[in-house]
């Protein structure tokens, strides 16, 4: 299980990285950030990139902070950065809750937030966060920068709207209103395993009724997505078990589950139902 040969490049500036990627993308040049997903696939020789462009030495990509009402996360910000809230308010809390479900401690020391989004595993927690909270992806290439909205970003299992020569340099997540409530529930075989199904929900309460609900489901379909039908079932309803059950039932009905060794469609729907209801209950507490 040794990787195939590749050429290694270690640019020290974003410009240099983008130039390299522009010239090497055609020779299967790929970005190496945390490497926690890429290197295993290389070990199994499922991926054999001709070039790796290691962006870990680019200091500016390690930056994280809030600006213009959004949390800006640079390409080299590690999962472990989120162990404690990175920003005051519910978004920081939400991310520090979710990060505990991402693999294990040593993996979180190396793996990056943006790397998870670039890899776009259906079971990725960060992809679910991005799509549920309406993140924006900043893609850089020699052609310039462009912003991709989360709903346009995911295009299939481990495929995204990023072009081969584009570096995902930053992800922006809108800050959540201070009274936003959230719930996150994930089902996996063991702690740290890939999610078989997970639900991330947020809403606010206005006099006991639900406003601005978001229901995101991950791990069940090729990409995580919001479930508008379930959100519609929550709007203006009291935050109570019957409401949550109804929304969870809808989520379970409308997903089109993947089938694999771990779960057939019936079982995945069961899990979507349970995770959605539990996430909603958690948010209401």
């Amino acid at each position: 299980m040794k990787p195939a040969r590749f050429e290694y490049h270690a640019p020290t500036s974003v410009d240099e990285a983008v130039q390299l990627l522009g010239s090497l993308a055609a020779e299967d040049g790929r970005i190496l950030a945390g490497g926690q997903s890429l290197v295993p696939t290389m070990a199994f020789r499922l991926a054999k990139p001709g070039h790796l462009i290691d962006i870990n030495a680019i200091a500016t990509l390690g930056q994280i902070g809030s600006k213009d009402g959004a949390l800006e996360i640079g390409a080299c910000v590690r999962h472990a950065a989120f162990h404690r809230p990175v920003v005051a308010g519910p978004l920081g809390q939400l991310m520090s809750t979710v990060v505990r479900h991402i693999a294990h401690y040593p993996i979180r020391q190396r793996g990056t937030f943006c790397g998870s989004l670039a890899h776009a595993d259906p079971a990725s927690e960060w992809c679910l966060v991005a799509v549920t909270l309406g993140a924006q992806m900043i893609a850089l290439s020699t052609r310039g920068a462009r912003t991709i909205a989360a709903e346009d970003y995911f295009t299939g299992i481990m495929t995204t709207a990023l072009a081969e020569d584009e570096l995902l340099s930053q992800v922006r997540i809108p800050l959540l209103a201070p009274d936003t409530r959230f719930g996150f529930r994930e089902f996996s075989r063991r702690a740290g395993d890939y999610a078989i199904a997970m639900a991330l929900v947020t809403f606010r309460l206005d006099g006991g009724t639900i406003v601005e609900p978001r229901v995101g489901i991950g791990g069940a379909e090729a990409n995580p997505r919001r479930i508008p039908e379930a959100e519609a079932a929550l709007v203006g309803k009291p935050a109570e078990l019957t409401t949550f059950r109804a929304a969870a039932e809808i989520a379970a009905e409308v997903v089109e589950p993947m089938e694999d060794m771990q779960a057939d469609a019936i079982y995945r729907r069961d899990l979507v139902r349970a995770m959605t209801r539990r996430a909603l209950e958690q948010a209401a507490q």
Partner: protein, 165 residues
């Protein structure tokens, strides 16, 4: 054809000038190029944790980093903890609590715990189990590893509170 590169790895404060292909993983370089075989290989895809080492203080999977990425960083391995005749407190706790049988996973657990306790000395018992779930042991059933690590974490907290009192 990719060329080999000359790099310097600093393992347990000792410099090793080695020549490696970029595809050489850090764990292979530590074992084969630096000759430090205490770090083990159990899966080469980042799951088992037998290859866990500290890179600039952080416990990481040495099978998921390339050696060229670790050039000029501080690498610590089990050989840097204590010797056969002079085990450090964590190592002694593994012995006292029978936290190993075949010993193959032990170096990885020791480095994982060393890194975590240095960075998060106040880590709680439940969180500690989360951390220990990072690595696989096939012999012990984990209970004695948990006991050993809790005992050391407790002793460290005790020592700090005594020092500050």
């Amino acid at each position: 054809m990719s060329d080999k590169r000359d790099i310097t790895l600093t393992v347990n404060n000792r410099s090793y000038s080695i020549r490696v292909e970029p595809r050489r993983t850090l764990v292979d370089a530590i074992r084969e190029d630096c000759g430090q075989t205490g770090t083990h290989i159990g899966c080469e895809h980042g799951v088992c944790g037998a290859c866990t080492v500290l890179v600039d203080g952080a416990p990481v999977r040495a099978c998921l980093m390339f050696a060229v990425q670790a050039a000029n960083k501080e690498i610590r391995t089990v050989e840097g903890l204590g010797s056969v005749d002079n085990l450090n407190p964590l190592q002694r706790a593994f012995m006292e609590h029978h936290a190993l049988q075949c010993g193959f996973c032990t170096p990885g657990f020791l480095m994982l715990v060393t890194g975590v306790l240095e960075r998060e000395p106040d880590i709680g018992d439940d969180e500690l189990i989360d951390v220990l779930a990072s690595n696989l042991c096939r012999c012990t059933g984990y209970q004695n590893i948990i006991k050993a690590v809790r005992a050391v974490a407790h002793d460290m907290r005790q020592a700090r509170s005594n020092a500050s009192a």
